[in-house]
Amino acid sequence: MPDPRELVTDPRDLAISLRAVSKTYRSGRKPVHALRGIDLRVPKGSIFGLLGPNGAGKSTLVKILMTVIRPTTCQGEMLGHRVGHKPTLARVGYLPEHHRFPEYLTAEQILDHFGAMSLVPRADRKKRIGPLLELVGLSNWSKAKVKGFSKGMRQRLGIANALINEPELVLLDEPTDGVDPVGRRDIRNVLYELKRQGKTVFLNSHLLSELEMLCDTVAILVQGRVSSQGTIDDLTRNSRRYEIEVGPPAGAAPDSPPTSPGAFSQQIAAAIRPLALLTSRDAAPPTSRPNDDAASGPTSGPTTGAMILAATGQSNSGTELAHDRHIALVVDGTTIRVATDDSGVVQPLIDALRQANLTVKAVRPVRETLEDLFMKAIVDPATGETLRPGADMEGRKA
């Protein structure tokens, strides 16, 4: 995992910088460690996503930032002031998870009330309320009481409420919870607009696909600890690869007897075997590491510097064709997985396949999704089992 302190070096470029944040509370007699030493850095002007399974401590962390929960230990700053500095909250917008607005107020009154609570002068509130309701698509409901609002409408109003003080930093806890697809798109657009305006957005969400679309940087929280953190590019770099899908020889008669899958894999392996050394030599300095399991190849082996070009027999994931310490090639059925993000490495392979009269049906750059990263993060490396949801309770086996 990249050290969060290395992501951005100048503290002035950080909206949030946290060190050793912990929270322990008691459930009955047992202490529950909701957060266990969180280090986190959120660059200014970015969209930051915090993800994790239920009970990982995401909401607890956000509540600590918003002074709703008192941390057990906490070092760090938010917008240049220590966490817990109340006046700073005038520059922060917050959408709590499962928020509940007073039902007797109208949408307009809610924005007016919470705007005043955030020390926004009356004249500014009057100016902002209309455009904000317009932004979240509630302008026709400004005079309606919240009592009659659907969940999605309440969520939209919550987002408007988080923006009433024109915050520099917006913390949104599950902003798309209960929102329909159109609403989600609208919210995404609002977030992009906020980013365009140079504001920092801190998102707490379970919806990985949305985070992937929106976020510049993410952190994965598991049982009160940050398991990985960085830009999505950084986090998925090791998993980047190309996949080449190979078809039967060009011009083969449609009624010719089908080759068995194992034999066809061997045929593919044979076609690219002579090029393995060349590939290695001609490739740009590789970025992959041998323990990259995205290629599902062997993770250890000779480190002589020369690519070993040898089939090692049938593995679980397919026929291992070749590997060296930098690039692994795996033939899996009709697909060759090349553990590199360098398209130059792939070209000779394509040529070799064509020379062997095989059809290159598709060449795809592939990388892990946020969901893959997430799933990897919540698997116990020792047991291979998914970690139980919830905070770490003393005496309980994680």
């Binding site: 002074t67 006046p87 928020h99 607005f101 007073p102 919470f114 020390l119």
Partner: protein
């Protein structure tokens, strides 16, 4: 800072405005003030609009201004505002803190640039707004009605506003503490009512013990007076050296008189022995009452402010049976009246300073609020 206080007050007003009970209480207050307006007194009896109800209540006994003040303090304050309206106010406001602290709601406010203590105090003040609005309307309307009908413009009536708000606040602070602890409207309301009955129970017990203590003192004084009279009579007879028939020449008393004197002496000893535990119990309850809020005494402060000493005396003498001997005053040689006993109890009550009544109650309120604020400020939501 002012912006936030104003926002919270406006919000509290909107919340109260939304609650139907607020308007129900206000309408009922209006009906009671209207009742002041239509009820009157003249030299023949009570009047309701243009109907007359001849009886003992006439202006000969109670002057018209005193009648209205009494009506206001006894019916308007002691019954309506201090009891019924306070219960309704508690029902209306008991949910303010539990709703405020509910998950999803508290985060919206705690995440604002406002300290928790200030937030807590603003919210508490908002709860008092309910009663302050109600009682202000009631007191102002009563002031006008009493002025117009009783021909007496008594600004002291407006003291009902701080006094009633204070009474309500003594209970509301308990309700807030319970609301912060339990986060349940029903639990905080029911437990506050229970606490109120406890306070009322302590007050009633202390008042009863005071009554018995004063009666015991009067009985002792009365019995002692009779013993002294008997002894003086005996001495006089002995000094006259002229014993009458049936009088014992050594004691100067007849057999009947001697028995009666003996019986009185025994009674005096009995009364003195009863006085000690009575006084001890009374002191205990008085001490307990000192640390508890004094809702009834606080309500009576208004009566103190509105009624002069003469008014009181007149009323005491007017009360039915006031001049009758107290049934426990013994034989009729030197009886004391219920009016005398009432005066003794009243004087003792009036001797309790405003500082004691309000100071100790406000002390209790500060203590309870302090605990509630401390919990609120330290809690994770």
């Amino acid at each position: 800072m002012f912006l936030q206080a104003k926002a919270m007050l406006v919000d509290a007003y909107r919340e109260l405005n939304h609650k139907k009970l607020f308007w129900i209480v206000l309408i009922l207050s209006g009906i009671i003030v209207a009742a002041f307006g239509i009820v009157g007194i003249n030299d023949k009896g009570l009047t309701v609009l243009h109907w007359e109800f001849p009886g003992i209540f006439t202006t000969k006994w109670i002057p018209e201004p005193v009648f209205y003040k009494l009506l206001f303090t006894n019916l308007g304050i002691k019954w309506w505002l201090a009891w019924i309206a306070s219960i309704l106010a508690l029902v209306s406001t008991a949910g303010l803190f539990p709703d405020f602290l509910a998950s999803g709601s508290i985060e919206l406010t705690l995440s604002r640039p406002i300290g928790r203590l200030r937030l807590f105090l603003y919210k508490y003040a908002c709860g008092l707004l309910f009663v302050a609005l109600q009682v202000s309307v009631f007191a102002l309307a009563s002031f006008l009605v009493i002025g117009l009908r009783g021909k007496t413009w008594e600004p002291g009536i407006l003291l009902a506003i701080p006094i009633t708000v204070a009474i309500f606040s003594f209970l509301y602070c308990v309700c807030v503490l319970l609301g912060v602890l339990t986060r349940s409207t029903i639990a905080s309301l029911l437990l506050t009512m229970l606490f109120w009955f406890l306070v009322f129970g302590v007050h009633t017990t202390e008042k009863s013990l005071l009554f018995f203590k004063e009666r015991n003192a009067l009985q002792q004084e009365s019995t002692l007076t009779r013993i002294q009279a008997d002894e003086a009579r005996a001495k006089r007879r002995l000094a006259e050296n002229n014993p009458k028939d049936g009088v014992d020449p050594t004691t100067g008393l007849t057999e009947v008189e001697r028995d009666r004197l003996e019986s009185r002496r025994k009674r005096l000893v009995e009364l003195q022995s009863t006085a000690k535990p009575l006084s001890r119990f009374h002191t205990g309850f008085y001490a307990l009452k000192t640390v508890l809020p004094k809702t009834t005494e606080t309500a009576e402060l208004l009566e103190r402010a509105l009624l002069s000493k003469e008014d009181r005396e007149q009323l005491r003498n007017f009360s039915p049976g006031a001049n009758r001997p107290d049934p426990e005053s013994g034989d009729n040689d030197a009886p004391f009246t219920q009016s005398e006993l009432g005066e003794r109890v009243e004087n003792e009550t009036l001797s309790r300073s405003v500082g004691w009544v309000l100071g100790s109650s406000l002390g209790f309120e500060c203590f309870v609020l302090g605990i509630a604020a401390w919990i609120f400020a330290r809690r994770d939501f």
